[in-house]
Symmetry: C3
Subunit: 359 residues, 3 copies
């Protein structure tokens, strides 16, 4: 249900400090820590001696010291100290995982280590680029990550789930057009001209009256999502629209739980820290609602033996159905060839006016 | 372990209102709601689109609107609205279950729908008839419903479990005579002449001195139970005895949980609302004790792999053993013929003096 | 993973009173109670009638009365009373387990009853002998008892887990010598001359300055452990050393939970009840730390499918590895011959000066 040969987000850069952080990705228990030189290290969360989690131990200089019998392991995974003896057992090693830092995020590679090419890190530069200001946060979702992708690829649910923030009748009622770029990226585009702004948009625009709004649900499997939203007062120029590009970066924790790292990136009012906080609050509140719904859905599907969804496809499923197809093809390819690696695609280009989709 | 082709109690009539009520019966998740015309509707609690429970949605006029993407379904189970499109997908249907209202109860049929004949609804008219006043309540029991039947068919446990309400030494010490009527109804009859009344009976009689008491545990499988209890002061006429006919209506929720709808119906002091409440309290307290014991028993049996009980039969088992035999025959018959339907039997007749059993 | 033909500790003598005590040993639910004559009885915690736990019942004279239908069973396990009938069903019996009291402990035999020879009760007389004063306690550990044995046989963990009580760097840094006596008892001996006393030892010694300390982890499978610790001020006579002999008596409850009965027995200041309590507190605090660690380890091992440990053996593993070998041989022997019984060994001899191990 997931691929291994790709970079997953392991955390925000600021999550990894000079102490041990334990997280599980794809059922693999991992510890993350930072050396005195600033380098991030990712290791299996398991002492090779008596198999207790290394996360109950502590950092001693640039070594992890086990909390049970005091064995130590360096940033290379090798055992560097055994209390009560001078020789070091060579087989006593902790497994390392390739890691990289980019876009203010820590990325981890859980597949074949020799394939971990940093060029394959998805470009989500909006999280940390000049010209963009991000309101960041994290949700832990007790649901299959594919259900979160589905949710993000069919935004008609905003009308029913997010009435008080980003949804109103205009979302579900507007037609959606889906395309696939480079065989890697799904785009589900919806134009909503001349509508009453939902509360979250009214707050950001801070101007009275109706707006033109567009939204594009952008998805690169297995778990990179962006929701471009543009909006401007009716009668003003589309090229001057305000834009947010919320990133939703999903890393499976287990078959039924997901790390959801997010950042709502905007291209306006960069110095307004009150706005940054309001956007963070509104986004967090919105994703709380998704979390509630997705966890109910996951429990219901598990009780039914995980049938395929949708069982009855309707028009708004065009995005999720395309996303699931791309993902299934990636999984199938990696199962056939454990060294298969997929190239990355482009989520969005800066400095161009987003145009309505061709009919 | 259960039959499907019969009417089960789904709730009290007043439980089903102009909003969605979710309950599970025989492992089937169901929603119950009432149309603007007052008709009760029972549907599978599952949207056929992305399989979330419809119970997270809401009623919109006489349609159920899914809480995720807003699809709507009418009282006939057909899809009546899909946001963002004009055509309605014909295959997109919610399963309906036959329901009926009688005796102030909602009844549901979970078997073959074409067999759902309302003539098969068990006659428990004491819940709502003139001449009877019911003190009603509900217990959720985390135990196999068959253990609850066993409990109700061997009332000798009153001596040990219900000392402060309905039991004393006289119950367990008095012999029990069991009969089967119409091949459908088990009666386990016990006469207790000239005894000190247990507290609950003293409260209802409201007169000093010893009483004559009888009790009949009446059971129609799979889950209809009545405990007729008659009592009068020693030296007074049996024909003038006060009577309660507590109904215990059991609907399996899962293999190890049971909906227990009850009503302690009496034939005296109908206008005494304080008495109605005292009987409700006394009954609820008594069934709290049964719930505690039955849940311990169910856990113990599960830990032992659900062996048959009783392992050692004693005289008081005559009622439960007969009840289990009738139930096993019904289950066997339905498994052999999915269209088998059992007729209903008569729990009790009004206006006749209950006589002691033939020796 | 365990043997049955041996005496396990069921409780402290004072735990078993004139009421029913329920405990599970080796997955077997048991009740313990004391007759009016003072004899301890151990029975299966299950009424043979409807299989409810007898522990919800009560003692009536020298009989256990079931809390459901009032059946009674005597100290011989036979049914002595059935309400509502005069004859007693002969097959209606409760299983008995051999029990014995010795060293202020109740011992139970869960194997073949005819092999339950009281001569096989391990000698742990320090719990109740003149010349020794015990600070006693109990911990319930949610872990495989073998992990607790491992923990007790490699005390180098004191340095990392018990810094505030019994551990310091000297423990893990001092070499350990392991021996096996009589094919039954493992001893892992460590000498720590001229060290700063850890806080718990400083408290007991109540004298300033450095000490000589020795410790011997003593283990007789399946679950009898003693940690002899001697200590005296540097420059004083070893023969005059103070000694504690903490007993750690382990009885498996289930595959992943353990009854841990303990007593820290000392040979000094017998009348100092404040010291008795301080030792109890210090021991309890120390074992709280072990409990925390062992439960994490058990969960980690279960998640990994219970691999063998240690995966990488280091020098300090010599004790645990020997202990596991003896245990595995006992299990293998009992599986080959259900009547195999192992003789007991000697944990320690009183009145002799403990000498350093031969190099």
């Amino acid at each position: 249900m997931w691929i291994r040969n790709c970079w997953y987000v392991a955390g925000f850069s600021e999550d990894v400090e000079r102490k041990i952080l334990a997280r599980t990705f794809l059922n693999q228990a991992v510890i993350l820590w930072r050396t005195s030189g600033g380098k991030v290290v990712a290791m299996e969360d398991r002492c090779p001696h008596r198999l207790v989690p290394l996360s109950i131990g502590q950092l001693v200089d640039d070594q992890v010291q086990c909390g049970y019998h005091g064995l130590r392991f360096g940033a290379d995974g090798a055992c560097s100290h055994v209390p009560g003896q001078d020789t070091l057992p060579r087989a006593c090693q902790v497994k390392l995982f390739p890691v990289a830092e980019r876009h203010a995020l820590v990325w981890i590679w859980l597949g074949a280590a020799d394939l971990a090419d940093e060029k394959l890190i998805p470009d989500v530069h909006w999280m940390s680029s000049p010209g963009w200001t991000a309101s960041k946060g994290y949700h832990h979702i007790e649901a299959d990550y594919r259900l979160v992708n589905d949710n993000l690829l069919d935004l008609s649910h905003e009308t029913y789930v997010h009435k008080e923030t980003i949804g109103n009748g205009a979302v579900a009622d507007s037609p959606v057009v889906a395309t696939i770029d480079e065989g890697r990226v799904v785009r589900a585009h919806r134009e909503m001209p001349n509508i009453i702004p939902p509360p979250f948009f009214a707050m950001m625009l801070n101007a009275p009256g109706r707006i033109n709004r567009w939204q594009i649900a952008i998805h690169m499997p297995p778990g990179i999502n962006m929701t471009e939203a543009g909006f401007h007062s009716v009668g003003t120029d589309r090229a001057k629209a305000l834009m947010i590009r919320p990133l939703h970066l999903l890393t499976p924790e287990t078959e039924h739980s997901t790390h959801y790292f997010w950042g709502t990136c905007r291209n306006f009012n960069h110095d307004d820290s009150v706005l940054t906080e309001r956007i963070r609050e509104g986004t967090a509140h919105t994703f709380d609602q998704d979390k509630h719904l997705l966890e109910i859905q996951d429990r219901a599907l598990r009780a039914q033996g995980m049938p395929n969804i949708p069982q009855s496809a309707v028009k708004v499923d065009v995005g999720p159905v395309q996303g699931r197809r791309l993902l299934a093809a990636l999984i199938e390819r990696e199962q056939a060839d454990p060294h298969a690696v997929a190239p990355t695609g482009t989520l969005a280009v800066d400095g161009k006016v987003t145009m309505p989709p061709a009919a």
